[in-house]
Amino acid sequence: MTRPLHGLLQGDPVVATSGASLFADALRDQAVTVAEVDWHPPLPGTETDLARVMGDSRRASANALALERMTSAQATLVDVVPASEGLGLERGTFLHAGPPIEWSRASGPMRGALIGAVLLEGLADNPEDAQQQLARGAHHLEPCHHRGAVGPMAGVVSPSMWVYALRDEVHGNDSWCSLNEGLGKVLRYGAYGPEVIERLRWMTDVLGPILRQAVRSTGPIDIRAIIAQMLQMGDEGHNRNRAGSLMLLRELLPGMITADASSADIAEAVRFSGANEHFFLNLGMPACKLATLAAEGIPGSSVVTTMARNGTDFGIRVSGTGEQWFTGPANTPEGLFLGDYGPDDANPDIGDSAITETGGIGGFAMAAAPAIVRFVGGDVPFALRTTRTMYEVTTGEHPAYQVPILGFRGTPTGIDVTKVVRTGILPQINTGMAGRVAGTGQVGAGLVTPPAECFTAALAALAASVPT
């Protein structure tokens, strides 16, 4: 028989305390098991909104549903196609990373990438001309996220670029992401020199078609399964993709080799893909996008469905508030620099790649990738502590993405706006750093967090949406 109050009066209480430690001490004096919260006041000015959102009777089940959808979403690579075809991208439209931005507020690397994309599309003969077109608003700029796509760093996608097409059959969603250009002077880091444009042309003419043949002949590739495995091989899926890239190449290799192309082109496509440690990033990102897409639009849910940056603003979107962006000025990452570059050379945070953290990997899975501290800074205990801390701001754990060193615990998944605001713990993002000046390229890699105001603004909107 079920007793009232879940049998509270019949058992030995185990007590959790929040507030004065005196009460916890008094309980310990009675040999009672006590779990004491390391309580801090929430972010300033949020008390009323918090109480309102916490009291929303829809919230618990809405968040459970968001987590269930996020973790049950599939991610299958089904095709490789030109963006004009897959995304229906029109000539003169350019997708970019992060929340919406106009040219006048765009950062150096964002401007550089847009200039490069205008050149690639043959809309301008030289960078100055491209810049003038963009400055006078001749071209349409739109966030990747508004089309279900994601792009690393500047995230610029133009119609002739090829994109991976991923599908979530469970929820009937699609997502797309550009092909990775490798490291160094590349468009996504804002470089637009002749070698950058030349590489992009080669990717459009040679690499894309070969990858398409490979995917079509191999058949759909389960990207989620590769993520699950790479986390057990020392990757975290954002800034470390070594194992994932090799596993992806292993899947694609037979189809690439037998593609209808010249052996020289095939050899170069294989060499290019194999040499790129971040080959997989552009698959992991849309896989996470499919996960978060499935969790969108659940009334009352305080789970974050997008974190993205355009190099000027950091923006988040939340399940219960739908399409609305909540933005704040992007922080500048701290970390390690390439060559002679230093902190003054780094642009503020940029890219849609924080979708990995939103989906429960990247910085959230840092404990799975202790070697990453050599790349982004920090030490191994920091990597472990980061993942453990993220459990304090997430809704649950990912059943498929597990961290061996934490006893195969699932990664912290489904950032809860209320928990971020209550604890003041901001999501940890591992990221690359772009040069501040257009045309520079990558200057380093490091760690960054979103501005807190994204979360307090989202909380206020959630509070306003609570039925009275």
């Binding site: 007793r3 009232p4 109050l5 879940h6 509270l8 009066l9 019949q10 058992g11 030995d12 209480p13 185990v14 007590v15 959790a16 305390t17 929040s18 507030g19 005196l22 009460f23 916890a24 008094a26 004096d29 009675q30 006590v34 779990a35 004491e36 919260v37 390391d38 309580w39 006041p41 929430p42 008390e47 109480a51 916490m54 009291g55 599939q74 389960d222 399964a225 590769i226 495995q229 057990q232 205990p381 472990l384 502590r385 801390t389 459990y391 304090e392 498929a400 597990q402 061996p404 060193i405 934490l406 006893g407 195969f408 615990r409 699932g410 209320t418 928990k419 209550r422 604890t423 713990i425």
Partner: protein
């Protein structure tokens, strides 16, 4: 024998782990053979060799669960064994030592499988914490004050929907399953349950019962406003239902300020329906004080009413002058309220910071020429500082002020012992009393001091020891607050 094969795409486990899983499942009674493996070519060969038919199109990213089962064993039985073995992989501990302390109540509750939460964060944050506890499916003692009545009603509705109890807000005392929460005395276990809308009132009742040899099963706090028309007895009704169901509890005492009449009749109807014997200890004008109420309960329960522990100090030196006014300096709100109720008929016009009559309200300086009773635990005096049961500084200072005031005739004090209270409150108070009496005597005055000492000998501070310290300083000491008040009135009357 029956066989079962299922494919789980994308469920990745490493091969060593799956070897363990297969062994564990195969060792389950009713399972003849089991293979849980990623569908690599090699494993598919092994599965085929074991007599399983593996569906076409599976690949190394797919988990295959294959079972041969004895007759009488269902597929579900086999799958339960698989799930439990897979779940077992998650345990086995974490490879490192460091932990991150829980940062939210929900996180702490889930990490410790807690069954109860205690919230004492500042009032503006308390509602959020309480919702977190309720959302985590546990009852919560809400010590925090400054929670609006609208929030209280919403929280209590959410709690009832989750079948958990919201004890509070501003709930200082509870006893659940023998565990004292907040400020609570160590009393003998027994069959009387308490439902308390008053913290120090509940402590007085529990200590009196203990002195009479009667034990307490649980004391469930409900918050001071629970029996008002607005809150409608929401927590009281849940608490009564839980106590009615509790085998250890035979009858219940409800300790409260005067309830709303409609709420009272609803609760009485509830109690009748539950078959629960409910006694009322209602503190209000024209009603019996708490000691009388407890005596009534004892008689009704067939227990002899004892002589309540009392130590009266020897009479004061007749040569000394005595002031005309009663000065009651309290830490417990209910005890202050009761003292005023008991004294008002005899002396009337008592000024207080918790006066029911606005005419009798004390100004912000808390000073008046006449009779004064101050509750140092009132919200207005605890903002930004700890409750006087923890930090008695303000009251100590006031005692020294009264010692120098020729109008002060008798000092009436309370001292509440138990878990959560100051570890040695009597020692400090005895020093201050001694000092006060000496100050008065130097000025040619007598200053009788009467203390309501609410506690038991089992309390961490030991009531007997505390009583001895206070009487050694020249105070009279009572367990019954109303008896202490009457004694103070007698002292005042005999000197007027």
């Amino acid at each position: 024998m029956s066989s079962h094969v299922e494919v789980r795409p994308g469920a990745y486990y490493d091969s060593v782990s799956l070897l363990q899983v297969s062994r564990t499942v195969a060792a389950t009674p009713g399972v003849r053979a089991a293979q849980v493996a990623m569908a690599t070519d090699l494993n598919v060969e092994v599965l085929t060799g074991m007599g399983f038919s593996v569906p076409d199109g599976v690949g190394p990213n797919d988990l295959v669960v294959a079972l041969h089962l004895d007759d009488g064993t269902t597929v579900d039985d086999g799958l339960v064994a698989v799930e439990s073995a897979l779940a077992g992989l998650r345990g086995g501990g974490d490879g490192t030592e460091e932990r991150v302390a829980p940062r939210t109540l929900g996180s702490a509750i889930s990490a410790a499988s807690a069954t109860l939460a205690v919230v004492s964060v500042p009032g503006t944050h308390a509602v959020t914490e309480a919702y977190d506890a309720i959302g985590s499916g546990v009852s919560v003692m809400l010590f925090s004050d400054n929670v609006s009545v609208q929030d209280e009603v919403r929280l209590k509705d959410a709690a009832a929907a989750a079948d958990v109890l919201l004890m509070g807000p501003d709930c200082g005392t509870a006893l659940v399953g023998g565990v004292a929460l907040g400020f609570a005395n160590v009393v003998r276990p027994g069959a009387i349950g308490l439902v308390a809308a008053s913290g120090t009132g509940a402590q007085q009742v529990m200590c009196l019962l203990d002195a009479a040899g009667v034990g307490v099963s649980h004391c469930l706090g409900v918050g001071g406003r629970d029996l008002t028309a607005t809150v409608g007895g929401r927590s009281t009704r849940q608490a009564l239902a839980a106590l009615a169901d509790d085998p250890a509890t035979t009858s219940v005492i409800v300790v409260s300020k005067p309830p709303d009449p409609t709420v009272l009749s609803e609760i009485e109807a509830d109690a009748e329906r539950l078959g629960l014997r409910v006694h009322w200890a209602i503190l209000g004008s024209g009603r019996p004080d708490l000691t009388r109420a407890v005596e009534g309960v004892l008689t009704a329960e067939g227990v002899e009413v004892p002589t309540w522990p009392t130590v009266t100090a020897p009479g004061e030196d007749a040569d000394l002058a005595v002031g005309p006014a009663l000065r009651g300096l309290f830490c417990g709100g209910t005890l202050a309220d009761e003292a005023m109720l008991v004294a008002q008929d005899a002396i009337g016009g008592i000024r207080s910071n918790i006066a029911h009559d606005p005419e009798l309200a004390l100004g912000p300086d808390l000073r008046h020429e006449g009779h004064v009773v101050i509750d140092f635990g009132d919200d207005g005096l605890t903002r930004g500082r700890a409750h006087p049961m923890i930090d008695p500084t303000l009251r100590m200072e006031r005692i020294a002020v009264e010692a120098a005031d020729p109008i002060c005739g008798v000092l009436l004090l309370d001292l509440v012992l138990g878990h959560g209270a100051h570890p040695d409150p009597a020692g400090d108070l005895a020093d201050v009393i001694r000092g006060a009496r000496s100050t008065a005597e130097t000025a040619g005055r007598a200053l009788p001091v009467v203390v309501s000492l609410v506690g038991t000998d089992s309390d961490p501070q030991d009531r007997g020891r505390c009583s001895a310290a206070l009487t050694a300083a020249g105070a009279s000491v009572f367990l019954s607050n109303s008896a202490a008040t009457r004694h103070a009135l007698t002292l005042l009357g005999s000197t007027r």
